[in-house]
């Protein structure tokens, strides 16, 4: 019975991973309607950033990499937005295919730059321990990821509700045209949003080095799950994303506990489809009277 309780922290930690990988998407997808398939490769960029920083920061690379990866992935996102995506607003399906092309190129670039085999990021010593929770071991690495997820959510929440650019971002998210006519430079806001959304992917990439491989295909492992979280949570909805990530994490952990990993994935998918039957727009939805 212990192990059943044990799955609670595990579910939370899976949820934290899902949240981190999906968080950036809720903004790029939610605010801008960009289905960014290259989001996974921004995660990858974060992971490789941590790998590169090892030469300089040694075993503390993970910490040092958080801000750097944010900047690196953010910059990649910003460039992508400037060069291509800005021509595609209002055509989400086209952005999906466009960014998939970008993701192919980035993956191959990683293969050529860093080699096809996985690389290793050494976790700092203080992250190697674990605590006993509910009769099971919860590694510090997992706690760190959970804390990071909470910090990211809190940071974004503060940013959106307290800062001027954050409020502009929300304004654009809720009503682009209205924001535009009220003097918000939506193009600037879009750039910033894309920078932040992509940067968050970089942060997620750093976190993932603690639990999994860093390799050219790391992004592909997470991208479908990340989109499921966003879809279930509702577009551009912070609380939706948080709840969806935790719920799917829990579901995943228990489904896998009772069945197996393969079936758990299928169950999660079936539940999301079922959920969309009840709430086709996700958990939370911005009401609009426009006939789209």
């Amino acid at each position: 019975m212990d192990s059943l309780l044990n799955q609670v922290p595990i579910g939370l930690s899976i949820g934290a991973v899902l949240l981190l990988v999906a968080l950036g998407l809720t903004f790029t997808f939610g605010q801008m309607g960009v289905v960014n398939m290259a989001h996974g490769e921004f995660i990858m960029a974060g992971g490789y950033t941590a790998y590169m920083l090892q030469d300089w920061a040694g075993s503390q690379a993970v910490l040092a990499a958080l801000p750097v990866a944010f900047a690196v992935a953010g910059a990649l996102g910003w460039v992508l937005e400037r060069l291509a995506i800005r021509h595609f607003y209002g055509r989400p399906l086209d952005t999906l295919l466009l960014t998939w092309g970008v993701s192919l190129v980035l993956q191959q670039a990683a293969r050529d730059l860093f080699g096809a085999p996985n690389v290793q990021v050494v976790a700092p010593g203080w992250l190697t321990g674990r605590i006993e929770v509910l009769g099971g071991a919860l590694p510090y690495a997992r706690l760190f990821i959970m804390a990071l997820a909470v910090a990211c959510v809190a940071g974004i929440w503060l940013y959106l509700s307290r800062s001027r650019p954050g409020r502009r971002m929300r304004a654009v998210m809720q009503n682009r045209q209205l924001a535009e006519v009220s003097g918000v430079a939506t193009a600037r806001v879009d750039q910033l949003t894309f920078f932040i959304g992509s940067g968050l992917a970089g942060v997620a990439g750093v976190a993932l080095t603690l639990i999994g491989p860093v390799g050219p295909s790391i992004g592909t492992y997470y991208i479908v799950d990340a989109f499921l979280v966003v879809v279930a949570g509702g577009l551009g909805q912070l609380r939706g994303a948080v709840i969806a990530a935790v719920a799917l994490g829990m579901l995943n952990s228990y489904a896998e506990f009772w069945t197996d990993a393969s079936l758990a994935k299928v169950i999660v998918f079936a539940v999301v489809i079922g959920f969309l039957q009840v709430r086709p727009q996700g958990m939370f939805v911005l009401r609009s009277r426009a006939l789209t």
Binding site: Q120, P139, I211
Partner: protein, 408 residues
């Protein structure tokens, strides 16, 4: 959008058809070398050079190309140079089948070295059997197969998995937990392991499969922690190993606390997993870069000279290298590249190769191999800690093991 349907359709078909015609034409007439005429003997090298399997398969392609160069440097075969025709299986099984067909029919190669996954071998098998051609398959696999058109130079189950189990038993590990990626090799391996355990008084506490590419192992680690096994038998594949070992270790399980016997982790993979996470863990193979012997010194030296000192050699690479040399020896002996003649000459053929003396078993077309258990060192190489006294006779159907009755 109403009128323009047909013109592009014409282009759609004309263009590739024209190109295909051009390609077909270039080889349509004279058989361009191949087995009979010409100044070279063409051989196919068919591995995934792109896609998910490329990481592993490119290294085997490299060692096979090296071996072909060695054969040529030693004067070639039957007075001719051996010319490799390299094709990309693209990690896609149907592509393997079609490329095999192309190599046989268009390039008229004398033989093909290729494949890694069981799936790619199964996809190619009918092509080779129907065309009476020959494939050399260089990777350890799940056994239960003995095609007259394939030579298997990697280990079958009684040369890798069974010795791995013998080793665990010897160490007193009686309670096992089985973890594998969800595909044919782990499932078959685990079937064998369960039969072995039953006959040897061992207990299987759990058997779990995760999808290929899976990276979330916390629940599985939790289940393992709950079951408290003496050892884990690991048949995970590729990137999943990285996540599994990292998460296992951060949950407090290291080699001392919980040995994890792996059969798919070689020198190549250790670095990506992180040496810290896997140091001291046992693996089961037939060859390590550290294996003693003159033939291996030559192989390792030549390999590093060609591909860089940073590169390591591993079991599948060595098996690919062996395949080329075994085929060359058989051709010499037969005086022909005809598959039937080569098969006849290959039976009982024996060569000194990096892993030691390797003999082809005529009836099964597998090879005798020495089983070796190794432990991962701090520098990422693997030290041999146990080996079978002599090369083990291949037994793909485990017929000589009473406990395995009813498995195949």
């Amino acid at each position: 959008m109403r009128e323009p349907f047909l013109r592009p359709l014409a282009a759609a078909v004309l263009l590739p058809a024209a190109l295909l015609t051009a390609c077909g034409g270039e080889s349509g007439d004279g058989a361009g070398g191949g087995a009979s005429g010409g100044s070279t003997i063409k051989v196919g090298v068919l591995h995934s050079l792109s896609g998910t399997m490329a990481i592993s398969e490119v290294t085997v392609k490299n060692s096979e190309t090296l071996a072909i160069e060695e054969v040529n440097a030693a004067g070639g075969l039957l007075g001719k140079k051996v010319e490799p025709v390299v094709e990309d299986g693209a990690s896609d099984w149907p592509t393997f089948a079609q490329k095999a067909q192309k190599l046989i029919k268009k390039d008229k190669v004398a033989t093909v070295f290729g494949g890694w996954t069981s799936a790619s071998r199964k996809a190619m098998l009918p092509v080779f059997e129907r065309n009476k051609a020959l494939l050399w398959y260089p990777v350890q696999y799940e056994g239960l197969e003995s095609s007259p058109s394939i030579f298997y130079t990697g280990a079958t189950t009684n040369q890798q998995i069974v010795p791995g189990l013998d080793y665990l038993k010897e160490k007193g590990k009686k309670k096992l937990y089985l973890v594998g990626s969800d595909y044919v090799f782990p499932r078959t391996a685990n079937k064998i392991i369960k039969a072995y355990a039953k006959a040897n008084g061992m207990q299987i506490l759990g058997e779990e499969y995760t999808p290929l590419g899976h990276t979330e192992y916390s629940t599985l680690v939790n289940k393992i922690g709950e079951a408290k096994p003496d050892a884990v038998f690991n048949t995970l594949n590729g990137d999943s190993n990285v996540a599994f070992f990292k998460q296992l270790r951060s949950a407090g399980f290291d080699a001392a606390k919980l040995p994890v016997m792996s059969v798919s982790i070689a020198e190549e993979e250790v670095k990506g997993i992180g040496i810290d996470n896997i140091v001291g863990q046992p693996v089961a193979w037939n060859y390590y870069e550290t294996t003693k012997g003159r033939a291996n010194d030559t192989f390792v030296k030549a390999f590093k000279a060609k591909y860089g000192t940073g590169k390591v050699t591993s079991d599948p690479m060595e098996a690919g290298y062996n395949a080329v040399h075994l085929w060359a020896a058989a051709v010499k002996k037969a005086g022909s590249t005809d598959p039937e003649a080569v098969k006849k000459a290959a039976a009982g053929l024996s060569l000194d190769l990096p892993e030691g003396k390797v003999t082809i078993d005529g009836p099964t077309q597998h090879v005798y191999k020495t089983a070796r258990i190794g432990v991962v060192r701090k520098d990422g190489l693997i030290d041999e800690v146990w080996s079978s006294k002599e090369p083990i006779k291949p037994d793909p159907y485990l017929k000589s093991y009473p406990w395995a009755a009813g498995l195949s």
